[in-house]
Each structure stands twice: as C-alpha cells, then as structure tokens.
Amino acid sequence: MPNIDRREFLKLVGAGGVGAGAGFMLKESKKDPTEYLIPYVVAPEDFSSGIATWYNSVCSMCSAGCGISVRTREGRAKKIEGNPSHPVNQGRLCGMGQAGLQVLYNPDRITEPLLRTGERGAMSFEQITWEDGLGQLAERLELLRAARRGNNVCLLSEGTNGHLAQLFESFMRQLGSNRLHHYDFDHPHTLYAANQGFFGQDHLPYYDLQNTRLLLSFGADYLTNWISPLHHSLGFGASRQRQEEERGRFVQIEPRMSISGAAADEWVAASPGTEGILALGMANHMVSQGVYQGADRAAWSAALSDYSPSMVAEQTGVSESTITRLADDFAGTQPSLAIGGGAAANHSNGVDMLVAVNVLNYLAGNVGREGGLLFNPQPAGTVSRPHQASYRSMLELAEAAQQGEIDVLIINGTNPVFTLPAAAEFREALDAIPLVVSLSSFFDETTVLADLILPSNSYLESWGDNFPEAGVGFRVGAVSQPVVSPLYNTRATGDIILSLAQRIGMSSTIPWTSMEECIKDGWRRIYEQGDPQTLAQGFEEFWISLLKAGVWGETTTGTTSFEPDQNIIAGIGVAAPEFSGSEQDYPFILHPYLSPNFHDGRGANLPWMQERPDPMTSVVYGSWVELNPTTAEELGLIEGDLVDIESPHGQVLAPVFIYPAIMPNVIAMPIGQGHSEYGRYAKDRGANPLEILSPQMEPITGNLATSATRVRLVATGRHIDLVKTSGTSRDLGRNIVQTTGDEGHEVSDAGLNSIPITELT
C-alpha cells in the first residue's frame, strides 16, 4: 500500500464518493418506473402515501343521482361508498353504484379519439388527435350552421340533468337545431304523463315510503330500479324497523315476482296489463263503500261504474274478495300509498293505469301528506330537467334519418341499437346518416357504427352536477368532481361540447373554457338566490363547503293541496291491454324486466355485475327465461333446456329457469345481456329480449309498450347446465330462515327466544 498523505486521501475519498454517487444516480435513473417503492420525491398535491383521500361526487350508474364518496389512495380510486350527507341515499349505495370503479378501470375503455377507416361496424379505426377530431366535427357543424341547416344535427344523449343538460340545450340552440334528444330506456314517460294528466304537475312527486304504513305497488320494482331505488330501500328498511304496530306493510301487484315482490308481505298476480283495472276496481269499492266522502262523490261513482269488483275480478284474474280486502286495507290504513311502474306502466294502457294509481291515492287521502304522495317543489335555479325522447320520437328520428334529414348524429352514452327493438329499424336508419359521432367511452353496439369517436371521461373523472328528480320532497343538488386524473387521452363530455362551441364561434353565449368553470358559474347563480346566511359566506366558501359536503339542499316544499277537476274525473278509465300476436299462435306474454345487475344493459361490461348472482335466480354470466313450474311441466321442459322464444318480430335463444312466482301464461327474461359488442365481459353472452319486442306504443306518450309482446316457446332439444351459485333453494324443514309465524317446525330451545348475553368469565 503506497503512502498517501491526507490531501491525497481526501481526494480519493471524494472522487470515490462522487463516483459511487454518480454510479448510484445513473443506476437510479435507469431504473424501471415500477422499481421505485414510492414513485415521487415530491408527491402531487392531493396524495400522501398510505393515507386515503376522499372525494364526494354523484353516481351516474342510473338516473337516481345518489351522492357518493370515493376513497382514493395514491391517486387511484379504491372504493365508492354512499355520501352520508346526501339525503337521497344517506351513506348507502347499491352494487351497481359501487361497480362504477369498473367503469373507470375497465380494460375495454376507448383511450384515444378514433376515426373510422374501414366499413361501418368493421371495427377498423385509426387513432387521431383531439385537434384533428374536434376540428373535423367543428368544421362540419359550422358548415351546416352557416347553411342554416343546423337542424340536420342531432344530439342523442343518455339522460342528463343539471348544467350539462343546460349546456347541451344552449349548444343545440346556437346551432339552430331542435333535435336534442335524451333517451334512456327506463325513463318513466307514462308516469310523467299520468302526473301531468291528473295532478297537472310536470315533474314527479315525492313518494314517502319511509312513513307510509301500507304500500301498494302496481308493478313498480321500487327497491331495484324505479326512480330512486336507494331512497326507497332506506324507506323500506325504516318502515320495517319501526315498532310492531307501526311496521309498514308492503303489497306488490305484478304477474312476475320482482325483488320488491319478494320483499313484500303479499304478492298478488294480476293478469299483465290489467293492473290499472284492478286499481279502479279498488277505487270503485272505496267509493261505493262510502270510504271516500269528498264532495265530488257522485262524479267518481259515475266514472267508476264500469269497475265493480266482480267485473274487475273477471278481467284481472284476482278474486273479488282480494280486491275488496286490499281496498279496505288501503283506505283503512292511514297513511297509505299507491305507486305504479315497471311492466305495468309499459303497456298500451300505461298512462291510464298510472292515473288510476293516482286516483287511489287521492281517494284514500294520501295526496299531500306524510307517508303518502308529496308534491315536489320546482327544481333549483335555472337548471333544466329535460323530458326524454319516447319510442315514438325515436321512430320519428329514424324516419327523418331515412329521409335524409339528418347529416350529423352525435351520440352521448346512450345505446339505442341495443335497447330499441329490431322492429324500430334504428340500425338501418344510422346507415342513412353521413356522419355519426360518438362521445361514449365504450364500444357498445351504437358506438361501433360511429365514424368518429371522441371518447368521454368516465363520470369519476369529470365535473358535473345532478338535481335528483323525485328527490326527497325538497330541493337537492350535488356536484360531481373528478376523483382521479383522467387515465387516458379522453376528455369530459362537457369539455368536448365547450371546445366545439369555441371552434364554431359560440363564445358569446357559451363562454366557459372548461366544464369546471361552467358548473361553478351555474352554482354561483344558485348561490345568489340563497338566504342571507349563505350569501354572507361568500361564493368561494360556499363552493368549498359544497364540494366538501357533496350535496346542497333547500327545504322548500311543494304544494300540498289538490283538487281534480270534473273533466279529469270523467275521463278516468283503463282500457284492456293490447298485445301483438294472436293468443293462439303466441300463447305466452313476454315480461322483460330490468335486471338488478345490468339495468338496461349498461352494467353488462362490468365483471363484478356479471359475476354477481342474480338476486332471484342466482344465475351468473348468462341469460335465462323464467317459466311457471306447471307450464314447464306441460311443455316437458327442465331447467337448462334451451328454448327459442319467438315473437312476431324475431326470436332469441335462452335456457329455461323454473320460477315459482310467475303466472302460468307469462314468461320473463331479464334485460341486459345479449350484447353483440360492448367489451370482453358483455360480448356474445346471453340473449337480449328487447330485440324481439313488437313496436306497440302507449298512444298518449308514444312510450314503447315493452310488456305487450306475445311469444311462443319452441324447444330446441338442446340443453346446457345453467351456471348458478345456489344449490337447492328450499328450506327442507331445516328452519334456516325463521319467521315469526313459524309453528310446528323443529326449533331448538336456544333459537326461539331472545339470546341471553353471555360474557366470558
């Protein structure tokens, strides 16, 4: 070892140190990003490793508008839970809402703007830039606007409300088009019409399930998909959990037991489409028995004369004694509430049926009182609550397209090629439209036919707001904010429209550069109409506290009194339902119902929803058709036998499921499967009953009568093993689910009485 003096030594150490350091740094910089344990020395503002950050937003999985709180860790969304402050869902959330995470992180999301290169539907697209895509579209729109052919532009969107809807309206108006259509398959057109017709109100009332003591539901699956299922579930739960005498009673009237039917204390099977007649039979009984003592009794008596319980019994298949008992209970229990929806509202007599339900509420004195039907106040601020396009409007749109009246169709999130029956020929109509643009995030059946795709952010990556319709009896609004940065090269729907607006020169009326700005501005207006206390805090404070709470409300209530006029009373009546197809050739009535897992099909690309067993049948990853046990026996069919379900307009194939709670001449199929596109989890799986529906309409609204199709069953001789998680769904006397009415079961001593509290000693 040579002699080294101190200076040399330090030099060497220094060089060595630097060298080592340099080497280390070099190695560090060459590391694969995933090798870093914690990726940032200086982390982005909104996250600290190991600590969750919560964001409030609004769920967009259905139109109920529940408030959500999303737990994020290190910039990734982990769990969607209900926002405890939101009065609609009060901290609770349904499964589909929680599966929103799989919308955000779905492997089949469209990640870039795309331009079609091959034939339409051939799925050949090339990636383009946003500049390019927006530029092309803006150019076309500008041309049309300049040529005063703005009306040849159609914007077909899923249901929206709040400021996005308002933005759509402004945009289309500026363009010179009146073809702004919102189209959700499950929009309750007939309910709106019935409320307009009877109460003269253009928005839905608040149905106070929580405080009612007897709920009569005519077909409405209020726990699963009617208007605001979570709020109704909360009400149901609260009602059940009250003390014994106060416990609410629930009666469900429908030809096929739904989830609400299973939760009900009594399930009454009325012949499909005759629910309204049943309601009027009850009304007749209430008037004739003198329960209703209003001044206009005579008018009512006259109007209801054709609906005596005996006549109604014949038409509905429900016994006279049941009708009168239900009527007596309904009138005698105070408060009571009648609601209508589901298949019952989707017959040719849907509006009349729902008017009959309103009649029941009126006669029993439920209107305007707690536990009954309460009128909602007008929605907040200037936000719009657009009515949606009915089936008839969609047919007219298709016709217009065929006539060459549509040059550009912009689709936002809705999937009419899947949800409209084949008889509507909507897909063919698209062929006649030169430019189809889609703003959707997924390759659903409609988007694969697009020429230009400008993919939107998922709702968890977007700014927005929501004013739930039936709400909670007072004004409620919520802002949704992005919970994560956009994962891909997508933009918020609102931002896309704003960019287009900029390019087309609409800046004067649509001045915002981002959706965040637009929403904030809109809320400023709401803020300005607030009370002095709110105004005192200043807008920024208001905005921050709004985001923190996730919800805003105002306890303005609606009107309480109501008097029907003579004309309305005289016009009360429910015609017999009309069906397509003759009873001889098509002996069964098809009852398609919104699936709890997929709703109208939108949830089919979420693996959690595919893997979750159907609540009533426990089937997973497939479709089925429900048959009454006697019917199945007569046809010689067992579970898993594949049958063709043929209507006058087409056929679908599905395996049989033996269902103990469905009428013998009715067969039911869940809606939601049978996608031909829509990603790896949904594609080519199951059958879509909407395809074969006949184009029957309810005359007033033009609503598709989804439950009016007659079908026949043709056994194919083939058989599959239905994939389901339940074993044998019978208790076999083992007393597993115990009820208070249990008598004569083998019960252990420990089981029947209250359980003594034992502490370990």
């Binding site: 499964g95 208790d731 009820t739």
Partner: protein, 252 residues
C-alpha cells in the same frame, strides 16, 4: 402455584376460544331478515373492499365461487302463494368454531376481539376448515387469480391479495376495525364507539338490514338486537356460538 393448580388453570384457559379470559371487544353483526331485500349491494361492497377475485364463468360453472358474503335463497310454498326469503350468510365468527380446531397448522384462530381470523401465509391448504364449517362460508383459491389490467388499480392496498392454495373468508373487515382502533387509541386512548366501524357490507346495505358493533358495549345497537324477541342464530343447535344474530322475518 402448585403443579396441579397450574394444570387446572391451563385447562380452564384451554377451553376458551383463543385461550382468552376476556375479549377486548366482542364484534357482533345483526342481520334483520325482515329488512333484507336480497339486493346484493353487500356482496359488491365486500368484493371491492377485500380484493375478492373474479373467478370467471368457467370456474363458476365448476362451482368455485368466492363470495365472502352471499345471499341464500329459500323459496316457500308454491304458486300462487310462493314466497322467497333471502338470507345473507357470511362467516359467523363462532366462539366455538369447528374450523379452528381442525386446522393442523393453526392458520385460523380466535383473536382478542372475538374474531375468527385467517392467516393467509400460514395456510397450507388442507381445506379441512371448509369441511368443518357448517355454514360453508370458507372459500378456497383454486388458482392464482388475475385481474385484467387496469382493474387491478382498484385493489385495496390494506388487504392482501391471496395466492393459490390458500383459504379465505369474511374477516368482518378487520382492516377497518384495526384502523378504527388505531384512531381511537390516538384519540385519547378511548374505546371504539358504536357505529364508528362498519364492515363494507354493513355500510352499503340500502335498507340498513345489517348492523355491526361490540356486544360488550351495552349501549350498542347489536346488544339491543340480541335482546329482541325475534333474535335467533342460524344452526344454533350445533352450538357453534356464532357472533351473527339474525332477526326473524315477520309474517304479516
């Protein structure tokens, strides 16, 4: 102590679940069958919270579901008087758990909070605990599971992802219980209050059919439920001493 008294002391402790004289907490869940609508929101919540794998259609066809909480269906009667009763079934965290006695490597044991815990990295996969459980709430990982990217970005970092060969089951969201206990400890070393910790299923239930709490706390909801005349336990005749109390459905 003399040898004999030491022996007797050991014997006495040995007979208790987990050898504890007293639990710190005694977590209990109540299921109100009258309020359960079978909507299965609890199932999705559990799946999201606990990184439950997607087994896929093929595996489900073979019967290999993994559902820490599941809804059982029991039809009663025939058309037109058919009724459907739903029963949520999850690990009952039995104080006299049959599964705890049979695991040869003690991968499942009773902890100081009255929970039946499963230690994934000790499990060698004999599956005898699944055989011994009368409620059949234990699920085995037959394969390593895979999430199509980027679905794996959703995985909860507070919960391990289980590999093949390992048994899993409901833990009453022990990660949430631990967080709540930590918070309570930081906050002046107090006890966790009723309602402060809710497993994912309880939190999401739209009808509030599920409640959760510490039955040592006499003010808690679960304690009140246990005194409800409708209270019973499933398969109580097997003397498993479960920690899940069911409230009978009301026949009205």
């Amino acid at each position: 102590m003399s040898l004999f008294s030491r022996f007797m002391d050991g014997w006495r402790k040995y007979r208790k679940p987990g050898y504890y004289d007293e639990f710190d907490y005694h977590w209990t869940m109540t299921v109100d069958l009258d309020s359960c609508t079978g909507c299965e929101a609890c199932m999705t919540a559990c799946q999201a919270e606990n990184n439950i794998p997607l087994v896929g259609e093929e595996e489900l066809a073979k019967g290999r579901e993994i559902q820490w909480i599941r809804i059982e269906r029991y039809w009663e009667g025939e058309y037109p008087n058919a009724k459907l009763n739903f029963m949520p079934m999850m690990c009952q965290h039995c104080d006299a758990a049959p599964c705890e006695t049979v695991c040869p490597v003690s991968a499942t044991y009773h902890n100081q909070d009255g929970l039946n815990t499963q230690i994934y990295n000790r499990c060698i996969g004999t599956r005898s605990c699944a055989v011994y459980c009368p409620y059949e709430v234990r699920y085995f990982n037959y394969y390593n599971h895979h999430w199509d990217s980027p679905l794996d970005q959703q995985l909860n970092p507070d919960v391990s992802v289980r590999g093949k060969g390992v048994m899993e089951k409901c833990t009453f969201c022990i990660q949430r219980i631990r967080d709540a206990k930590d918070l309570a400890k930081d906050d002046d070393r107090r006890r966790v209050r009723d309602g402060e910790v809710q497993p994912a299923c309880v939190q999401s239930c739209p009808t509030k059919a599920l409640t959760f709490g510490d039955r040592k706390d006499t003010e808690s909801q679960v304690y009140q439920s246990m005194n409800n005349p409708r209270a019973y336990k499933v398969l109580d005749e097997l003397n498993t001493d479960s920690s899940v109390v069911y409230l009978k459905k009301v026949d009205a």
